[in-house]
Structures are given as C-alpha cells and as structure tokens.
Symmetry: C2
DNA sequence: GAATCTTACCAAAACGTTTTGGAAAATTAT
DNA sequence: ATAATTTTCCAAAACGTTTTGGTAAGATTC
C-alpha cells in the first residue's frame, strides 16, 4: 500500500489541498509549511499516484514509441540507440517512454488507436517515416501530437528532424574515387522510406556532380541477412561493383559478410560504407566507414518539439536539421 | 476528446454499469445487449480510459524494464532483443512495457521507487542480475513483484529463468580442441554478474573435465570497445592464447577486431567464440561461433511467471531452465 | 476602530472507470 | 394465483489526485 496524499496530510494535520499545492509549488502556501510538507513527503516516500493525477489532469506524461511493423522484430540496433536517446531526454523531464511492437492479432493501427483513446500516452515519436505514411495521416487527422524523424511527403505539417547529408555524401563519394574505386552501387531499402529516398538522392546527386556514370541500384529489406543475400547475388554478376554504399549500417554488415565470402579484401578490392554510425560499426572487419548521425541531438530535438507541442506552444511544422559526420575507416581503404 | 463509457451508454440508453459489464464479459447481461454494446463501442472507437481503470482497479497493466545503469547507454544489442521478446509476450496479454534508463539526477533506485509508489507499473523484469543485487533486495523487501533473468545468490526467492550451459560449453571446448586450439582464454565481464559467474564456471569446469591446464582469465566491461582494448593487450603478451571464449557476443565483436588488428586470421590462427547468439553475429567476419540463447522462450517464461505472480497464483520461486544452442561458425574453424 | 487587502489555508467537485449491493421484470415452481 | 427463482439491469460509492472557489485570520490603510 503506497503512501497517499491523505497519509501525508493526516500526519501534518493539513488538508490534502495544501499538501498538493505545497508540492506543486503554488505560492499560496507559507514557506515554512511548504518545507515541512516537502520534507515529510520525501521521508514518507510519497509519490503521487499517476493514475489519479492523469485522470484529473488529463495528461499521461508518457510518450509512446511503436516499433514500425516493417521490422518484424525490433532488435535493430538502430532502434535501441534511438530509444536510448529518447529515454534519456524524456526522463530528464519526468516523462516516461512506453514501448511496444504491434502483434499479429492487434494490428499496428489498432495499437496507436488504443493508446490514444485510452489516454495511455500524450503523444508519439515516429521513426522510419515513409513517403506517404498512414501514421502521419492518422495522427494528424485525429489531432494527436507527434514528432517524427523524417518528414513524409504528404504535405502534412508536423515537427520533425531532418538529416541533411548532401554535402557529406559528396565527400564520401570523392573519398571513394580518390581511393581508386569507380563502379559504385547503392544498396538500398524499401523504396518509400524517407531514409532510402534521401540517401539514394544524395548518392545520385554526388555521382552526377562528379560526372560519374550512374551506379547500380539494388534493393533489400534493410536487414543484415537480406543485404547479405542481395549483395551475394550482385557480386556474382558479370560486372560487379567495387564500392557498395549502403543505406544503413546494418545493411552494410550483410554486405561485408557477402564480400568476404566472395574472397574480396574489403578496403582494397571493394569498398563498403554504411550510414547511421552504430556503436559496433567501429569493430567490424574491417571497421566500417559510415556517416554517423548525432543521435543525442536528434532525440533531444524530437522530444523538445513534441513537448512544446503538448504545451500548445508549438510552431506547427518546425523542422530541425542535423548533419551527420563522415567517419572514414578501413572498409573504404582508410 | 476520446469517447467515454458515458457516450456509449447514452447512445444505447443503458447505464454505464451495464456497458462496463457487457464489455468485461460478465454473465449478468443479456446476450443481445452485449452484442449491441460491443458493436457500438467498437464503432464509436471506445477504449476505456486507462487512468480511470487503473485508479479503480489498482492495477496498471504495465510492466517496467529499467536498463541497468551498469550499461551507460542501453544500446546493447542484447537489450533490444530481450525487450523485443518481452514486448511480444506482453502485448499478447494486453500489457504494456514501460522502459527507462536511470538518469544522473534521479538515480536508478529512485526510479524503481517512483514507478512503484506512483503505481505506474505492476511489476518489473530484471536482467543482468548480480551476485548480490540491491534490486532483488529492494523489490522483495517492498513486496513488489518481479521476475529476473538469472538468480542472485542472496537466497531471496523469486521467479527466474536460468540459462544452463554446462554441457554445451563442454562441447564448445571439445570442438576447439578438435580444431587444434589449446591455449584457451576467457574474456569475461564484471565479476559479480551472474552471467559472468556462470559462464566462467562452465569454462573452468570444461577445462577441468578435459584435463586441460587452467586458461587465462581477463576482465572487461562487456562492451565491444572495452573488450577490444583488453584483447589487444592480451595478444601482445609473450604467450598469447589461441582461443578466446567471450562472455557474450558483444565482447566477441571487440575481440574479433583486436585479433584482426594483430594480423591474425580468425578461425585459423585464433579461435573466437561468443555467447547469446545475437542476430548480427552470423554476419561478422568470420561469422561468430556462439551459444545462442532462446530469447523468445526466455521472454515467454519471464512474462508468464511475472503475470502469474501478479495474479497471486505464483509458486514463490519458480525457476525455468533454458538451454542454449551451440552455433558453430567459421570463427572457430568451422 | 472600521474597512480593505493579504496571507494561508481548506471543502468539495471533478476526472472515467469498476464494483457492490440491490431492484424490477420475467420466468419457473408450487 | 402466489411464491420462489432467475434474468437483466442500474444507482451510488470508490479509487487518489488537482483545481475551483471560497473563508478566516492577520496585516495594512484610512
């Protein structure tokens, strides 16, 4: 039986009103009383019952993150790093993070719906946004606050973080050319993912700007295993590429594996680069060249924008731009 | 404004009691009425307000998972796979998973306390359990339900999952010997982690049983980078080992990196094995031999035991034993 | 010393459910 | 036809907060 506000009030011979207001920092309670209340509450281990507070305040002080069902299992390292960032930011502000992945019975849509309608969460963070994203449509139609990593192309305004890598991608491609690689291929993901769209665009632009012939483009499901299989096939083709630019690090893991299996020395016979800058990418063999996105910065921006929106002080469609950093490692010849 | 039970009741000219009971499947409501209620509620998009329900029922229908602060950032791939399993299991039963990592301001202990006292969660899942674990002490002292992956040595009873790998570890060591490796080293983690204790024990036992001389033991922080540094040092010693048995896969990633950097061909000059069986471990260079733990089975058992405990139908200290599977890959010579 | 203003407190309502303890209506038994 | 039972429904209380709209006492002003 956790201590309630009544317990605290009774102990001090005060009304629960006064205790509540003392703890919430209202100025209509005497300083001496406040101190007493705060100290006693602390000593008694009182923490306001969240259900009661939520019910009264109509706020959950909780943010939802639903793993996009595209990734059957959410063990993608990227998600962990992402959630880690969100968790850090949120707990700083006394918010909590509710996490789930859609099951087969209850669809993903139903889960969003349930969390919103049951007021389990105040808002959502979106990730792996798509060109036309039903989540964006759905949430904005229902007036549910959210912020996203990436902006859909629906023209619907919402606060988002955009990764801008045109310049740094050009540097990456220049670096590859410098190292003597010339037959570039892009190992991409599902065509309507904003990540894929942007990164492919930067790839193409870089080729164009450097007047290189258009590269080979292949598609995977963005898992390491999917990429492994696709790249295996690619390397068996008559004129295989000698540089693989992967849509993300995990895809690059699969590509590395495939290259090794084909007896290639990565960094010499073939170059492989990723995107995201996962922790473990510095320990692959050889260490992976990648464009590291500033995860804490992204999480910070998303949380801040979302919380601003919850307080009603949001500019409709704020967009924060972050720049990845080029980490050149041995997988592209150092 | 989400629809409330009042809205549904009004629409049907029923009392909220009847609506509530109809939806909850009580048998004191006519079948015809129930059908009507269910259909209408569904159509109106009604979902019970969780705060109100919690307040009344005194249950949160939410389980907490707090990333142990030993791992500064919870981007360990293991956690993602673990949480993935928990999420799957929980959402099947309409429970949710609340996740957080302790911040610097609010310590880990305070976070457990707050979640419990504010009744945000009904119970906890523990992971990375230690020999003497304050969390076990704390939670059991306060009568807060929890289940853990690994059992502390405090003699405190609680439902747990135990990984039992004595036999399979013996097989692993035999396999290494067969392949001609003989100077075995154990790349371990913090000494009081149950994982470390068990796995080290199996390592030692296997050596003893096969009458091998005691191996080299080193300690890391169980991060890939920590292991990388430690193994670099180890390999520079006068008589370096030729087989590294790592306490987990992530440690093995660092070991792989170190071995490559020393110009060794992994699988021929040196063998490296992990433990856990992370997804990406099949794509390292060379693919990593590991003992794969059955994550879904573990998650299932933990969730089931915890929920049983929440329903008061728990045998105090149930223990489910799971067996990992030996995945032999190229990193130990295939 | 009366009127006004501040300060410090509090009673009661409200948030949206679930559950308790009936009660009316319909059915069956006598 | 009446009594007993079953079926179907409901009013009201409770869960633990926050917030509204006060009031009494003390301080200040005239």
């Amino acid at each position: 039986m956790p201590t309630t506000i009544h317990d605290v009030a009774k102990k001090l011979n005060l009304s629960i009103t006064t205790v509540s207001r003392a703890l919430d920092g209202y100025d209509d309670v005497a300083d001496s009383t406040r101190k007493l209340v705060v100290v006693t509450a602390q000593k008694m281990g009182y923490a306001p019952n969240r259900a009661a507070r939520q019910l009264r305040r109509q706020k959950a002080e909780t943010i939802g993150f639903i793993i996009p069902s595209i990734s059957k299992h959410f063990n993608e390292p990227f998600f962990t790093e992402f959630m880690s960032g969100l968790g850090d930011e949120l707990s700083k502000r006394n918010f909590d993070l509710l996490v789930s992945n859609a099951t087969e019975d209850e669809g993903e849509r139903a889960l969003y719906h349930r969390w919103v309608n049951s007021q389990k969460v105040d808002g959502f963070i979106l990730n792996r946004v798509r060109r036309h994203d039903w989540r964006v449509e759905y949430l904005s139609e229902w007036g549910i606050p959210f912020a996203g990593l990436g902006r859909s192309h629906d023209g619907i305004p919402y606060p988002s973080v955009r990764i801008e890598a045109a310049d740094v991608y050009l540097n990456l491609v220049r670096h590859l050319i410098d190292r003597g690689f010339s037959r570039l291929a892009f190992i991409g993901g599902p065509a309507d993912l904003i990540n894929q769209i942007d990164r492919l665009k930067w790839f193409k632009n870089a080729l164009k700007k450097l007047k290189l012939e258009p590269g080979n483009l292949i598609t995977t499901d963005m898992s390491s295993t999917g990429a492994y299989e696709a790249v295996c096939a690619l390397l068996s083709s008559p004129t295989p590429p000698d540089a693989l630019l992967c849509v993300n690090d995990q895809t690059a893991y699969g590509a590395l594996h495939a290259a090794h299996e084909h007896g290639l020395t990565v960094g010499r016979d073939i170059a492989i680069a990723g995107f995201d800058g996962l922790r473990d990418s510095s320990h692959t063999e050889p260490p992976l060249t990648t464009l590291a996105v500033p995860m804490p910065e992204i999480a910070h921006a998303l949380v801040q924008m979302l919380l601003k929106k919850l307080n009603g002080e949001a500019s409709e469609a704020e967009e924060v731009v972050v720049l990845p950093e080029l980490c050149i490692r041995a997988s592209t010849g150092g």
